[in-house]
């Protein structure tokens, strides 16, 4: 049975290993390949983390029933800046994230979940009220 529609794939499957041998500098110069070193990977991870936070903010604004323009007024920023925040700019400052969440009517709970199960998680609440709580250990995960 041939599992794939493309005959090229069925022909390749099960064949012995082969390494592509070529002058890789050509593909790099042509922009087909990009080196993916640790620095590039770190940028990607930062970008993905920023997008995750941005998605959270978009959900919070939607839940609040606010438009970008109204949210920008509450935050005291230009709507284009709020738009950039919601696009997941990796340059998003933590204080901007906190300020935007507060302006949308949300407190922030930060939870550090240990990879070692013998340790207890730590949480802190960044409240929009002046007195934020100190990190407190939780008894259960």
């Amino acid at each position: 049975m041939k599992p794939y529609k493309d005959p090229r794939l069925n022909k390749l499957m099960g064949k012995p290993e082969r390494v592509v041998q070529t002058d890789e500098s050509v593909a790099l110069d042509q922009g087909l390949l990009v080196k993916f070193g640790r620095r590039e990977q770190s940028r990607l991870e930062q970008d993905l983390a920023a997008r995750t936070l941005a998605q959270l903010l978009v959900k919070a604004r939607t839940q609040s029933g606010l438009t970008v323009r109204k949210a920008a007024t509450l935050l005291g920023r230009h709507p284009s800046r709020v738009g950039a925040i919601e696009q997941g700019s990796s340059a998003l400052a933590f204080r901007t994230f906190v300020a935007y969440a507060h302006s949308l009517g949300y407190d922030i709970e930060i939870k550090l979940i240990p990879t070692d199960p013998s340790r207890t998680p730590l949480t802190a609440v960044l409240s929009s009220e002046p007195s934020a709580t100190e990190p407190t250990p939780q008894t259960a995960r």
């Binding site: 090229r8 499957m13 064949k15 890789e24 593909a27 990009v34």
Partner: protein
């Protein structure tokens, strides 16, 4: 230490390398744990090359990195390039065992373009400050 690359498709115009597009889509679908697993597999490939425990040979030039996650099988399709080079092309999360054909074909397309040196230069939008391509 292995050298790792990501790739653009030789004929399709995308803003970022194909692997980035896949990881961003997974992230948006809430599959963050799977994205983390894929990053872990790439780190392992960089450290151990062909001997990485996640590497599985599919046939001829095609390989995959594969691990089980809460969302299904996390897979990255790639080919080997010269001495210690690994070109990561596409990634997916899949419940079924059979890889998605379109992603394997993309991997073949990139490998053929690199091998023949016939890849054409695809104009891409200018890089924006602070954002990955």
């Amino acid at each position: 230490m292995a050298r790792v690359f990501v790739a653009f498709h030789p004929r399709r115009k995308t803003e970022r390398p194909l692997l980035y597009e896949d990881l961003i889509a997974m992230n948006q679908a809430g599959q963050n744990a799977s994205v983390s697993k894929i990053i872990e597999m790439i780190d392992d490939l960089r450290a151990h090359g062909r001997n990485s425990r996640y590497v599985k040979h599919l046939g001829d030039i095609l390989y995959e990195l594969k691990a089980r996650t809460a969302h299904g099988g996390a897979r990255v399709y790639f080919f080997r390039l010269n001495q210690d080079g690994y070109v990561l092309v596409r990634a997916e999360i899949k419940q079924e065992d059979l890889a998605t054909e379109a992603l394997l074909i993309d991997t073949l397309d990139v490998a053929e373009a690199v091998e023949k040196g016939t890849a054409r230069l695809v104009p891409r939008p200018r890089r924006q400050g602070g954002k990955t391509r």
